[in-house]
Structure formats: C-alpha cells, structure tokens
Symmetry: C2
Subunit: 264 residues, 2 copies
Amino acid sequence: MKDSPQDSKEYLQKRAFFDSLLTIYGRKPVLEALEDLSLPVHKLHLADSNRRDQLIARMEQLATERQIEIARWDRKGLSRISKNARQDQGVALDLALPHYGTTEAFLAEQSARKEKTKYELLALDGITNPQNLGMIIRSACAGGMDGIILPRKGCAQIDPLVIKASTGTLFKMRILRCEKLASALTEFQQQGVRICGLSSHAQQTLSDLGGDAPTIFVLGNETRGVSEEVARQCTQLLRIPMHNNVESLNVAVTAALISFRHQR
Amino acid sequence: MKDSPQDSKEYLQKRAFFDSLLTIYGRKPVLEALEDLSLPVHKLHLADSNRRDQLIARMEQLATERQIEIARWDRKGLSRISKNARQDQGVALDLALPHYGTTEAFLAEQSARKEKTKYELLALDGITNPQNLGMIIRSACAGGMDGIILPRKGCAQIDPLVIKASTGTLFKMRILRCEKLASALTEFQQQGVRICGLSSHAQQTLSDLGGDAPTIFVLGNETRGVSEEVARQCTQLLRIPMHNNVESLNVAVTAALISFRHQR
C-alpha cells in the first residue's frame, strides 16, 4: 500500500489546485486582474529590476489589501515564471481558476458519476491565432458549452491577448488542458464519447447530428483543418453547409454555430 | 420633359456602373486582383513616381494582356484616387463589381418587381474594425444573406485589410452603399421592411422572429451598440440569449448566428 486513502485524497486535491493555476503577465492585465475582486488570485510575482512607479505601487497595495502573497525575483527568475520575458514587463500573477483543469481530472470526475451525463466540449487542434482563441472561448461560454479542451502542444496559449479577446469569459469557462490532443481524445473515445471533427469535406452536416451522447467537436487549424493524427481519433466528420461556394468560416464563427445550435 | 426615356435609361445604366466601382490599393492586393481572372477590372492606376520593379512590370503586363486601361498620375493624383496616400504604395485598381451598388438602386429594383420577394439584409451601424467588417462579409456570404448595407459614414470602408479578412467573399456578396444609415433605413421602412436592431436589452429573441416579410438586421458598434438615431428607425429589437451572464458576442459572430439561423 503506497498511500492511505486520506493521503491520496490530499495529494489529489493539491494536484487539482496546481492544475487550476493560470499565470498571466504584463502590467495592464495583472493590474486589471488584481482589481477584479471576483478573480481568485494565488500569488503576485515582481522582478527586482522594476522601477517602483505608480503602477507597481498600486499592485503591491492591492495585493496587501487582498492578503495575496508577493514573491520577488531577479529578472531571470521572473521570466521563468511568466515564460515570456519579452512581454512580461517584470510582472506576473498566478490565478487559481476553479474552472481551469485537465482532461484527466474531467474524465475521472465523469467516471465517478453514477449516471452518465450528456456534455458537449470543443477541442482545439492547431488554433495558433490568439485572437481566434479568445473569440472561441467567448462564443463557447455564451453558447453554454461545457468546456474547451486546449492542448499544450500546437495551440496558442492563454496570454493577455487571449484574455482580452475573450472579454473576461476565460475566467468563467471550463478549460481542460492536456499535452497532446490526439492522446486525450483516445481516452474520451474509450469512455464512449462521440468525437466529431469539423471538415468542409464531410458528408454529414452539423444539423444531422442527433442523439444525446456526450460529444466533443474538434476545430482544426484555419488553413490546414483538423490534423491527420487527430482526424484518426474522430468517430465522425461534420460540415456546416454554406452558400455561394464559400469554402470555410472563421474558426470562432464555427465555434459559435456549434455552441448556439440548440437555439433554433 | 427633361429626358427621353432612352436617355434616362442610359443615364441610369451609367450611374449603376459608377456605383459598382470599388477602388482598391496597395501592391499586393492590386496584383492579386489582376491575377484573379474572375474579377472584372475596370482600370489600373499607377503613380509616375513608382520605381519600375518586377511587381509593377507584372501589373502592366497583366493589364495589357487583359486589355485593361492603365492611367498614369503624379503622386498627388494617385492619392486622390486611392484616398489613402499612406498605404496605396503608388498603385490603385478600379474593380467593377456586379454585386456592388447602392441602397437606392436596390429599393428601385424591389419596387419594380410585380411580386414582393422576401429578402434578408444586414445593416452595419458604426462597425469600425476592418477585421470585423471582413469577417461579417464572410459569414453573411456563407450563410446566404441577400446583402449588406454599408454606410459611408461611421463604418470602416473596404480596403485591403477588409478584403483579406473576407477571404475573397467580398467579391461575391451584394454590398449596398448609402450615405447615412438612418436615412437609408427610413426608406426601407416606408416600403414595409422590418428593421430589427440587435440589442442585449431587447425582450424578444432572434428565434422568436417569425413571418417572412423582408427583414433588415442592424448590427451596432461593439462597445456602444446600435446608435440612438438608428435605433429610432428600428421596428423591433432582438437579442440572442446567452449563458453564463455573457453580455455580448463579437459582432461577426452575431452576424453568423443571424445568417445561419435557418439551418436548424
């Protein structure tokens, strides 16, 4: 026996907490997040090299008022945290987002349920444009999707540009992280989840999709579409019928048409 | 009697031709348009100050092959044509787009019909972001809208950025120009057209909208929404119901949800 059940539970809770951390950076995004009392902030990171101007003073004041830990680093230490030395402006902030987790944790949660629930997720395959990523999150959140699978490989990562384009909805949306999308989808498939790849070449259309099994809609790169490796994990392909021989839609628009399709 | 009917018809045809002209500028957009044989090009404009490099030589060659008139101007003359001296790079091109016209001509065409047809248009009120304008055109074209009303006042104008964001759909979509949107809408209203303003405060939802009268959907500025002056011309207001207390959608996403709403 490796762990007593309690230890194991503690370990899982700790791990879930670290999985829920999202680090943002840059003076304006960090200040805005500190000012937003609805956001659960974990830790403020400051570089020693920062000139102590009004903005930094305001961040320190807000952190103190909110009883948020402040960590101080040399320039190099801070860039290890922000992972973006060029744009962090000497400032980073860890958010502990309750809706931010992993596909693994989500699947474990679903298996633990007695009754299967119907859920709908978007999965992003090679979405590299931060503007599009932000708009996808915004549309999916407004349309009531249950989550977005965002792999660490091959997609834009959440940064100030994405947060801005999501107009704050990032903090409400369930974001499920995984390493590689294809591997994560295999696990969903094994649990009986339908994996629908969006493709302009598909026979079946989005509105043909019936039934109420849990479903994942895979959105591919705007130029290349869904990658071959990911397409192999799809249980079906769907297209959105278009007029005037238009070949494709902006990926955030596709996300919206999927997310809002239950409204006639 | 001012004109014989024939003169008047000739005059109207000439006028319709000039209303159909769209001037684009910049070396890449102009070269791409010249290379696209499906685009009806009227005239190529070149500044004398251009260095005669490969790109210019290729444009001249294409124009000669396609029997397109080349007009040569001094720098100032060219900027009067491009209306954008900063970005024209000494090159402009008049396209004669069959789908490009005025609200006036469209209304005259509709009155001339014996049977009323049902049509659906988008009208843009204060859409200033070229990226959004291009995406709206793309979505509306793919969704099968019958046209887009684009006022000269208060909206982004069609430029290379918009053409790029529309991914070529601009050349397929019926674009109806007018001076001020509010005045144009008054004329539609007088012909019994429903004018639906999109507003997050509306009681009625988009899916409540029944009937099959001709309809115009008015999209407002992303921050301020539909302007007061234009809202006064609306016969009804509609909202798109949203989850998670999301307040608004990207305007191009809204355009897509309207344009594709006939697909279940």
